[in-house]
């Protein structure tokens, strides 16, 4: 039996980097998230939005139910923000992930990063979304046009045995 191990980071580290992470059950306010990373010293803001698409793996999707192990999802997102903040001084990071039933084109996740310079801001947004997708306990149940529903398993190999 093989087990995956995950790098653990101090959530309440001494760095004091401005960071925020939350699971929300209402539409994400992107402007408010951007405001969380704004500052007079900021010269670049990078925002990543994940949205529900109408087609996945060739099947027509009508919506997605997102669910989360909420307290762990929030602490993992804060940990990711903390780890990424430690890569470059001056980074600010804010993350919100929505749960509940989302329609096509609705925003499921929003990540806002900022820095005095553009490269750290751009790099940080990418690092956060890549980490979020592998280590934050959030799941999606896709609804298809034909009425079928399925849990999405990006790993392919680790899902339930039929």
């Amino acid at each position: 039996m093989r087990w995956r191990s995950f790098h653990q980071s101090p959530v309440g580290d001494a760095l004091g980097a401005p960071r925020y992470a939350a699971i929300v059950d209402r539409p994400i306010d992107v402007a408010a998230l951007i405001a969380r990373v704004s500052d007079d010293g900021v010269g670049a803001v990078s925002v990543f939005l994940g949205t529900v698409r109408d087609i996945n793996d060739g099947r027509a999707v009508t919506g997605i139910d997102y669910s989360a192990y909420r307290p762990m999802a929030e602490s993992e997102m804060m940990a990711i923000a903390g780890e990424v903040c430690q890569t470059t001084p001056g980074l600010r990071i804010a993350i919100e992930h929505r749960v509940g039933t989302l329609a096509v084109s609705e925003v499921s996740v929003a990540i806002a990063t900022s820095h005095a310079r553009r490269t750290p801001a751009l790099d940080a947004a990418r690092l956060v979304i890549e980490a979020l997708k592998v280590r934050v306990p959030i799941w999606k149940n896709e609804h298809y046009v034909d009425g079928d529903r399925a849990w999405v398993d990006p790993t392919g190999a680790q899902g339930l045995r039929i």
């Binding site: 039996m1 989360a68 306990p137 959030i138 398993d153 899902g159 339930l160």
Partner: protein
């Protein structure tokens, strides 16, 4: 008075695992302290447990755990299906 004595380790279930076990939480008949791998093995004997993959992810106290992590009495334990956030 009536005391409900919990005879095992409560394990939180989500998404496809909650579907497999038919509940958002199961009490696994094993005594704490024990290792994560022993807990998972005990879960395989429960109704729905045969559907678990070979190496399900486990969190203890909201932190990713290894197979050798020790679960103590009172720990919050969760079995984590493949994540799909974003």
């Amino acid at each position: 008075m009536c005391y409900l004595v919990r005879m095992g380790i409560p394990v939180l279930l989500f998404a496809s695992y909650a579907d497999a076990f038919g509940a958002p939480q199961v009490d696994v008949p094993i005594a704490a302290p024990c290792q994560v791998r022993a807990l998972v093995d005990a879960m395989r004997a429960l109704p729905g447990g045969v559907r678990l993959p070979s190496s399900p992810l486990v969190a203890v106290n909201r932190t990713w755990a290894a197979s050798t992590t020790t679960i103590a009495v009172g720990d919050e334990v969760a079995l984590i299906p493949p994540v799909a956030g974003g």
